[in-house]
Symmetry: C3
Subunit: 146 residues, 3 copies
């Protein structure tokens, strides 16, 4: 084998090493995440419900609705926000239409003997609101508690 | 030295480079943390105290108590939750028994001239509740503010 | 070319690979961030305004003012905290003097027809408070909602 071929082999090793390094998910990626926000609603207070919906709207207006994922999670005393007779029912429907995910906590619904027909159309459900909020933070979503 | 030995050296370099890369803590690790949640209590409101305790219980029920680390930090007006005469005293004892850490803020205790004998048994103490909550987030704990 | 020069080339490749690896921002960096905290104020409640200011002060006292970056963001019903006639005006001035950043949300100001002359001196402004709070979390600031 010639020295020329040794150098060819060397070049392959170098490129392979650099490609491996480039393919690593690095903290640099973590520093430039997409915009993703989980908004917690845990108060039985329509003022807070409206504030949560304002927050979602402002995020979409400022960043562009396509550039931000928003998930509102209602649990505990906040579950009333998502009942069929909620005073913010129209705004929830509007938010869903604008691409905001709106999620109710099954735990809390069972506690209040609420079934899906008692709730607004189009919302989602999770077994436990607090677990959902924790998971979203683990996935690097920002957390907002109005 | 033969070309054969050059290739042997090359192989060692390659393996060393790949091992270095593999040993790096990467963002991939950060994306799969254990379940760890710090719960803030900063309201003088027994409704919030109960909600914080419900949140801890739901996290343990849903994930299994062994699979989630939970720390409740009471500070500011929330310190009353951990006084010996707290209306949620029994629930705190139960939570401690279930492996939840419960922490009082020394700063706030000094401000209210509270000493350790004024507080519930089994709880922990930190110099400043807000510093504890910040540190936990730095360590990638999720944050929950009921 | 001699085998000696091949080894010289090998050494250069190795060093280059190790330098590349060392220069990567890794999750290890993310695990030891500086102390940076964004504090949200979204209640029209002077008790919460004082608690937010206490939190900032305690962070500075405990960690040393030079060792922690603190940003208070007031938005929604919390904007009153930063009006020129705010009941905590003196404390805001004091916090600014101690190096705390204090930020008002333009969105909310427009909603209440507030202009900069209506606000306390020395504060900063952002187009949307919620976007600022999201961005800070993306940059690994801890989040505190008193």
């Amino acid at each position: 084998m010639s020295v020329h071929r040794v150098f060819q082999a060397l070049r392959i090793v170098t490129v392979a090493a650099l490609v491996s390094v480039a393919a690593l998910p690095t903290a640099a990626d973590a520093q430039t995440p997409e915009s993703r926000v989980v908004i917690q609603v845990s108060d039985a207070d329509p003022g807070k419900w409206n504030l949560a919906l304002n927050n979602a709207k402002n995020l979409q207006t400022d960043l562009g609705a396509k550039n931000v994922d928003i998930e509102i999670v209602a649990y505990g005393p906040g579950i009333g926000m998502l009942k069929a007779d909620s005073v913010v029912g129209n705004r929830i429907t509007e938010a869903l239409g604008a691409g905001v995910k709106v999620i109710a906590c099954d735990n809390q619904m069972r506690g209040q003997k609420l079934e899906m027909p008692d709730m607004l159309n189009g919302i989602g459900y999770v077994p436990a609101g607090v677990v959902e909020i924790m998971r979203r933070q683990q996935e690097h979503w920002a957390y907002l508690r109005p």
